[in-house]
């Protein structure tokens, strides 16, 4: 320790000039390090997707409600924020629509196949559309008196094996950037646990494929998927398309192996 240096007492002194110069250099070094590391950190981040959640910008949409594979509104009148004809419905926050639709039906009877008007927040990305029923049961604006339509028949089932990741479509197509992978894992678990349809994201030559995951008998199996959300997994089952969405029916026990 060099004793000849000027001695500094914080409560009394002006910083000695020898200290002052060294500290100036130190501050300069810290700024430089801060700037360089910021550039490196931001530049090398994984890019974000273009998906959109038009939060607070509610849209009114009219269409036929299908309950299979999950509540989907097949729309006939469009909104600029809706890309696809088959709009997957999700609840407010990290919830699915089960409770909301049950409440709507208490007052209006079975809504399956009925033409209805909903208000909600559109979510869109990669050619898919979702609608958050932001006002819960008040999201149902109108039920039309048309005759009930029978459901569209699904495409033939084929046996497939897919590799990819279980995602929650609300975050993935919506506001979360990123809405997949490890960073988002616990949030996706929360959403799938809350009833938002579990979707399997896999890739093929056409791009990404998004399949709603159901059990072998077409039932919801969200609870059995929670341990595998946001991990790289391979699943086998029957795949088909129903009401505009790809579906894969699996035996969840295969995931435990």
């Amino acid at each position: 320790m060099d004793r000849d240096k000027e001695f500094y007492i914080g409560w009394r002194d002006k910083t000695p000039s020898s200290s002052r110069n060294l500290i100036k250099m130190f501050i300069l070094a810290i700024f430089t390090i801060g700037i360089i590391s910021s550039v490196l950190i931001v530049y090398f981040q994984k890019p974000f997707n273009q998906h959109q959640f038009t939060f607070g910008n509610l849209a009114e949409v009219e269409g036929i409600l299908h309950k299979f594979p999950k509540p989907i509104l097949e729309i006939n009148s469009g909104d600029a924020n809706i890309e696809s004809k088959y709009v997957l419905l999700v609840g407010y926050g990290k919830f699915g629509t089960d409770g909301i639709i049950a409440e709507m039906e208490k007052e209006n009877g079975d809504l399956a196949g009925k033409r209805i008007k909903l208000i909600g927040s559109p979510i869109k990305g990669d050619g898919k559309s979702l609608l958050e029923l932001s006002k819960k049961k008040e999201s149902l604006l109108q039920v039309y008196d048309d005759t009930t339509l029978s459901p569209n028949s699904p495409s033939p089932k084929i046996n497939v094996t897919l590799s990819g990741e279980i995602i929650d479509p609300k975050c993935y197509f919506g506001v979360m950037k990123p809405g997949e992978g490890k960073i988002h894992k616990s949030c996706a678990i929360r959403c799938i646990s809350g009833g938002i349809p579990a979707v399997f994201k896999s890739a093929d030559s056409m791009g990404f494929k998004y399949s709603i995951i159901l059990g072998e008998n077409g039932e919801g199996i969200n609870e059995k998927l929670l341990d595998y959300v946001a991990e790289k997994v391979t699943i086998s089952g029957f795949a088909y398309t129903a009401n505009g969405w790809d579906v894969i029916q699996i035996d969840p026990k295969q995931l435990d192996q």
Binding site: F26, G34, I35, S38, I41, F48, M176, S186, S193
Partner: protein, 365 residues
């Protein structure tokens, strides 16, 4: 002892030395410190947010805030951890140490914003309460790559909170310096938690190796600085070369100590500083009562031993802070044989007066 212009009744030192407490006692040095600190914080955050918009225009504001606050806080943590060893290596860095607690509290606030935004984004509005979700949604506690990394961040945030909340001298006084020091040494544990939080979290998603490299550079810089400062400090600790009786030890010669400075010496658990001033010698504990700062690296100013860290003062002949202060440190008996300084390593009770040893012209007593 002559006290000339010693501002004992200056409010800054009154507060500093525990006579009364204000929320924060400002002085010009602290203000300059905080201005530079916040210019740095705001500049880095604004710079990083602009880069996000340029390179990744589809980023959301929430993600940008989460990332920017985390990175800035982590950068500040590196600075905080470097200040200690830098000051031991070169006293000219001491002004950085003087107000390090504001650096710590600022870092905690940034980390808190990061944590709150994450808890709101990832865990709120769900089927269980956010805190339950934090601990239970991801149950892969037995895996590294899938580990619930947010729990680690949360624990680190709790440590930082305890440190920020107890950073005021009020707590130092009430917890006692040893407990306080222990709490504040937990920052190293928090640092490790945060590194593992990043490795098992963000870096499981971001795969570019630049991130591991940056963390490694930070870690190596901090550990090597600590190691180097530790080795240097050990070298300056004197070894015992001779003993008269069980407790009397030879330390050094009079010429080896510069005027108004000290030579330090450790024996078993005794950390002793021997000061030379006005042609006399006194020995006191090397450990400051405030935050255990190294008194032997301080100086005699206005007749008082002055701690290099925050300027606490003690009279060399009795180890007492001059009135109205009441801090006391241990004192030690010295003996001068020709020009050799010998110390009795058995301490006298804190604040015991011991007549200073006079250095005569020919170097002997």
């Amino acid at each position: 002892m002559v006290i000339i212009g010693n501002p004992f009744f200056n409010n800054n030192i009154n507060v500093l030395m525990g006579i009364n407490y204000n929320a924060v006692q400002w002085n010009k040095n602290k203000k300059t410190y905080d201005i530079i600190l916040w210019v740095f914080i705001l500049f880095i955050m604004a710079f990083m947010m602009s880069l996000q918009v340029i390179f990744h225009p589809t980023i959301t504001l929430e993600t940008s805030i989460i990332r920017t606050t985390a990175i800035t806080a982590f950068l500040l943590l590196h600075i905080i951890l470097m200040i200690g060893p830098l000051c031991r290596l070169d006293q000219r860095f001491l002004p950085l140490l003087y107000n390090r607690r504001h650096l710590g509290v600022s870092m905690f606030f940034l980390a808190l914003i990061h944590g709150l935004f994450c808890i709101i984004q990832f865990h709120s509005l769900g089927d269980v309460s956010p805190l339950v979700s934090l601990f239970t949604s991801n149950g892969d506690y037995d895996s590294f790559s899938d580990f619930p990394f947010q729990v680690l961040g949360f624990l680190a945030l709790i440590i930082l909170f305890i440190m920020a909340a107890t950073s005021h001298d009020f707590w130092l006084k009430n917890l006692g310096p040893h407990m306080w020091k222990f709490l504040h040494m937990m920052v190293y544990f928090a640092y490790i938690l945060i590194i593992v939080h990043i490795l098992t979290g963000a870096l499981q998603y971001e795969s570019n190796s630049i991130y591991v490299l940056l963390i490694a550079v930070g870690f190596v810089s901090i550990s090597s600085l600590h190691l180097y400062a530790g080795i240097k400090a050990n070298k300056t600790d004197l070894t015992i070369v001779n003993s008269h009786n069980k407790s009397l030890h030879f330390v050094c010669t009079v010429e080896e100590i510069q005027d108004d400075c000290a030579k330090t010496f450790s024996y078993n658990n005794e950390d002793i500083a021997i000061f030379k001033y006005n042609d006399q010698l006194s020995a006191v504990s090397n450990i400051c009562k405030h935050q255990m700062g190294p008194l032997g690296e301080g100086k005699i100013i206005d007749g008082c031993i002055t701690c290099p860290w925050h300027g606490y003062q003690y009279l060399p002949e009795n180890g007492q802070s001059p009135p109205p202060f009441n801090e006391k440190i241990k004192t030690y008996q010295l003996m001068l044989i020709e020009n050799q300084i010998w110390v009795d390593v058995i301490p006298r009770p804190e604040g015991t007066t011991i007549t200073p040893v006079k250095i005569l012209q020919d170097g002997s007593r």
